[in-house]
């Protein structure tokens, strides 16, 4: 539980939207050019602040999608009743300005010396900080074995599908598609359950480290399932996205 104290004041910095990439119909990755970005660790997040021309401001937190040392990028899912995510996924264009503050968080973080083997479990856009972890593993030249269990509604909703289509050596990506599947789909086609975890997760005897990120119901069931498989609670790190209109 020992943490690295982050004691400097985090100030807002102006960011310029760089290249944007549409990942799915509802999900976009935005590169953010921040002149004095202090760097970040895989799994951390940032606060984003938007200002309207009448002075109204809205702030939200987003997971960082890029590895340390890569340009800062966030991947945002549009929530239709949201205020910030529709702007970021539909309106924001390269060259637009917003503000960013961070990096934030130090618990849901993986670094090379955190070790493994790693079990990464993502529900929907919960994949974002886990993608940063997979990229950091490659960047650091780590050979820690990784199993990534990634639950999406359908193949069209899978984020980073081309990147995970050719995963780096030692990284296994296991998909489950909960709502609809392509014809001839051979993978899992149901919500993550204890049987699936027993098939996919590293045995507890290998002292794995688990990172679980997604909606609350996903995280609750996966985290409880891993504890049921003998994972110590302290080796299961969770990050949850509430359905809060973010």
């Amino acid at each position: 539980m020992a943490g690295t104290a982050v004691r400097g004041r985090l100030s807002w910095q102006t960011a310029t939207v760089g290249p944007v990439t549409d990942e799915t119909a509802k999900v976009r990755t935005l590169r953010l050019e921040v002149p004095d970005w202090p760097g970040h660790r895989a799994g951390q997040h940032v606060d984003i602040r938007l200002t309207a021309d009448d002075g109204y401001q809205a702030e939200r937190a987003y997971s960082i999608a890029s590895a340390p040392g890569e340009p800062l990028a966030i991947t945002v899912e549009r929530l239709d009743d949201g205020e910030v995510s529709p702007y970021l996924t539909e309106d924001a264009r390269t060259g637009d300005q917003l503000e960013v503050r961070g990096p934030i968080g130090g618990y849901f973080v993986w670094e090379e010396d955190s070790g493994g083997p790693l079990l990464l479990a993502a529900g929907g856009s919960g994949i974002v900080p886990l993608r940063a972890i997979v990229r950091e593993r490659s960047r650091a030249g780590s050979s820690v074995p990784v199993r990534l269990l990634y639950s999406s509604r359908s193949w069209e909703d899978v984020i980073y599908s081309s990147e995970f289509g050719l995963p780096p050596g030692g990284v296994e990506v296991i998909y489950t598609l909960t709502r609809s599947q392509p014809r001839m789909w051979q993978g899992y086609a149901r919500r993550v359950d204890n049987q699936m975890l027993a098939e996919v997760a590293w045995p507890a005897s290998e002292r794995p480290l688990a990172y679980v990120c997604g909606p609350t119901s996903f995280v609750e069931s996966v985290a409880a399932g891993l504890v049921g498989l003998g994972y110590p609670a302290g080796r299961v790190k969770t990050e949850r996205f509430g359905a809060t209109g973010q």
């Binding site: 104290a5 985090l10 939200r60 702007y87 637009d96 790190k237 359905a243």
Partner: protein
């Protein structure tokens, strides 16, 4: 001076004046945020203890539930920016619990199942401002929201309202708890937007 984000406009209704701290928005959901799996401690082994006073104190679940409880309705504010208005709780006031302890400490470190801790000044727990809550909206507090009992300190950001709370350690000095060690604010006043260290 913040740069204008071209084309960004308010979409949410303005919150009731003076009701919602800066940077927060109102939600009707009750989002869940925690760092690890949800612990499930049976009531038969649950205790609430206060250490660091002249005598250590501890209550079993039955003893705790026999203490006078209050019902209250309050607004809660999470550092992740949601606020929830008019939440209804039942719990034992910290005035009652700390009133049974002889101590002169100025700070506490609250501790929970799962290893979570958070630090608070004693003054913020007294005077009808803090409870150990066991009932939410008329039903036993669910495990995902911190049941069987959580700290409820609604005038501070909600991470100070430790879920699955099992006791308080009275201390002469203020030491950071779990999130505070990861850069979150030592005090956490939402009205001053004390989200992170140095705010």
């Amino acid at each position: 001076m913040s740069p204008v984000s071209r084309g960004f406009r308010r979409k949410r209704e303005a919150a009731p004046a003076g009701r919602v701290p800066p940077g927060q928005y109102v939600t009707k959901d009750f989002p869940v945020l925690s760092a690890g799996p949800t612990p499930h401690t049976p009531l038969s082994t649950w205790t609430f203890s206060i250490d660091g006073g002249r005598e250590p104190m501890s209550w079993t679940w039955e003893e705790f539930r026999a203490l006078p409880a209050e019902t209250l309705t309050t607004d809660i504010h999470c550092v992740t920016r949601w606020s929830k208005l008019d939440t209804a709780w039942q719990g034992v006031s910290l005035d009652v619990l700390l009133g049974m302890v002889d101590y002169d400490a100025r700070y506490v470190l609250a501790f929970s199942d799962g290893g979570y801790t958070t630090n608070l000044p004693v003054a913020d727990l007294l005077g009808g401002k803090a409870w150990v809550a066991f009932d939410y909206e008329g039903a036993p507090l669910g495990a995902e929201h911190g049941g069987p009992a959580r700290l409820l300190v609604p005038h501070l950001y909600f991470w100070k309202s430790a879920k699955w709370v099992r006791g308080l350690q009275l201390r002469d000095t203020d030491v950071p708890g779990f999130w505070e060690n990861y850069g979150y604010n030592m005090y956490g006043d939402p009205w001053r937007e004390q989200r992170y260290a140095g705010d």
